[in-house]
Amino acid sequence: MKKKIFSIISDIIESPVDETTGFQDINSLKLLQIIMALDEEDITIPLEKIPLIKSVSDILKFAQIEG
């Protein structure tokens, strides 16, 4: 799953990412795009966790696989 998440995020922010990548320069619209793209791949971030996301590692921590 980690590889898939990296790939999705990387596609959206248009640069390579790993667990150390922070989201300091990411605006809220971009973050929502990432969450939506993950959701479409059945990788869900619980709504209440979204405000806590500051980095790729946070996404790895909160991500849940549906289905």
């Binding site: 959206i12 605006n27 619209l29 973050l31 929502l32 795009q33 709504l47 209440e48 405000p51």
Partner: protein
């Protein structure tokens, strides 16, 4: 202590509902290409706003759109406006700082001088506040109340600001609230966090910072937005955080107070902030999307007007013939959340009419 202010009003009903949008359609793919470039389709997908209705600045206002909605409702329903003893106008985009919109609406609609008329300045939570105040007023006056709710937020959303450029549409609505016997009790929950006023703000043009010779100049701000002092500044993440922390709790609180569950409701009517937010709140509240009407795709976010616009556009056939149980929530500037549990219909609902412009 609960985090919500709880209010209940008995024996009132909505007797009619109407909405009006400008005829001018803005296609976001074309409009947003210069600012979002090749990301435009992703931005449209995330926000949900494919197109919006925009009226020309300094020509058509929230007052015009809402008065037209009221006139259209009168024409289609035959409702006797002589029964109206109060006008409430919910808006954060009035014609003037003084006088208010409601008094002008009283004149334009030819209502009796024996009318109480005032504005409520609230943004996205405004319609629910309007319903609450109108319900109390209808009981107090024992007459009908005309609740007008209109916004032209597109006029203070900078076309060069990544956070707001594509979101906002213009609309006006009219609802008639009247006293009645034996209706279900309307229940409301309110929450306010004024410490976050800067999260969604028009920084210039009021009396904290009056308009000066620089207010209409576009400037680049540290958040990357390019806008004027008289434009809206939105900290999208702060608003999002507030919404996800408080809107589901507010709806849950209302259901506890009314001993209801999602199965008891026909409709969850949410402020059309953006499509992602609407879908996420619905999912968290365990409402299937067939119970959650959306109009942000075609009308954009018209702030306080989105709830009545969405009801008019998507439910007018249903509520013309039957009674629906609704739970609704508006949320935004303040920061503020207002939610309500109530019934709607059968009543006259005209759908959405257009204001030629």
């Amino acid at each position: 202590m609960t985090q919500f202010a709880l209010a209940k009003v008995k024996n009132v009903k909505i007797a009619g509902l109407s909405a009006c949008v400008p005829s001018n359609v803005v296609d976001n793919k074309t409009f947003g290409e210069s600012i979002y470039k090749d990301e435009i389709l992703n931005v449209i997908k995330t926000t949900g706003v494919s197109e919006r209705r925009i009226c020309p600045e300094n020509v058509v206002t929230s007052l015009d759109l809402s008065v037209r909605a009221a006139d259209y409702l009168r024409e289609k329903s035959g409702y006797d406006f002589n029964n109206i003893a109060g006008v409430i106008f919910v808006t954060s985009s009035p014609d003037f700082l003084m006088p208010n919109n409601a008094t002008t609406a009283q004149y334009k609609l030819g209502l009796s001088g024996a009318t109480a008329a005032f504005d409520i300045n609230l943004a996205c939570s405004g319609y629910i506040y309007g319903l609450w105040v109108a319900a109390m007023m209808a009981k107090s006056l024992n007459k009908s109340i005309l609740l007008l709710d209109g916004e032209t937020n597109s006029h203070f959303a900078s076309p060069k600001d990544y956070a707001t450029a594509l979101l906002f549409g213009d609309a006006g609505t009219a609802s008639i609230i009247e006293p009645c016997e034996d209706s279900i009790e309307w229940t409301f929950a309110f929450e306010t966090d004024g410490s976050q006023r800067d999260a969604l703000i028009i920084p210039e043009g009021g009396y904290r910072k009056r308009i000066d010779e620089h207010s209409a100049e576009y400037k680049t701000y540290p958040d990357g937005g390019v806008r004027r002092g008289i434009d809206m500044r939105m900290d999208g993440m702060a608003v999002f955080n507030f919404v996800v922390r408080n809107v589901p709790k507010s709806l849950q609180y209302l259901m506890e107070q009314t001993n209801t569950t999602p199965e008891d409701y026909d409709i969850l009517a949410l402020h059309q902030a953006n499509l992602f937010m609407v879908k996420q709140v619905a999912k968290m509240m365990k409402f299937s999307m067939d119970k959650v009407p959306t109009t942000i795709q075609k009308y954009g976010n018209s702030s306080s007007a989105t709830i009545p616009v969405t009801i008019s556009a998507e439910l007018h056939k249903q509520i013309s013939t039957k009674k629906l149980r609704l739970i609704a929530s508006g949320f935004g500037a303040g920061l503020s959340v207002a939610s309500a549990s109530f019934e709607l219909g059968p009543c006259v609902c005209t759908g959405v009419t257009e204001y030629e412009c």
